[in-house]
Subunit: 75 residues, 2 copies
Amino acid sequence: MPSKPKPLQEIVAENVRRERTSLGISQEEFAARCGYHRTYIGAIERAERNITLSTLEALAAALKLDIKELLVRHD
Amino acid sequence: MPSKPKPLQEIVAENVRRERTSLGISQEEFAARCGYHRTYIGAIERAERNITLSTLEALAAALKLDIKELLVRHD
């Protein structure tokens, strides 16, 4: 049975958290690299923020990823 | 010489306009399909709006595209 479509916000949240932890950096360190506050990164990783294209660009740049990789579903 | 990185906002703008026109529909018709006002679609297509993930989802759904296709650079 095909899985239910997952909201993009959740896909991005999971990908940011997985990629950040695979870099071995804290939310605090990652927030500093992005130029955001730690609490904003926490909210993004809990899928609580409907982020914009420019935020998506900043996250991907800090993770050294192509932006599209943050939109790929991995489950 | 590698081309200058193009802001995501411009890439999405160009892709939305190209895909919408290839469907042969007006901004008005497309806006109705997305549930947005025509002027908002116009602003998006002129790269004047830093849209959110949920708007990206709505645009891709109305264009019957995978969201990632709206982020692909075509020039």
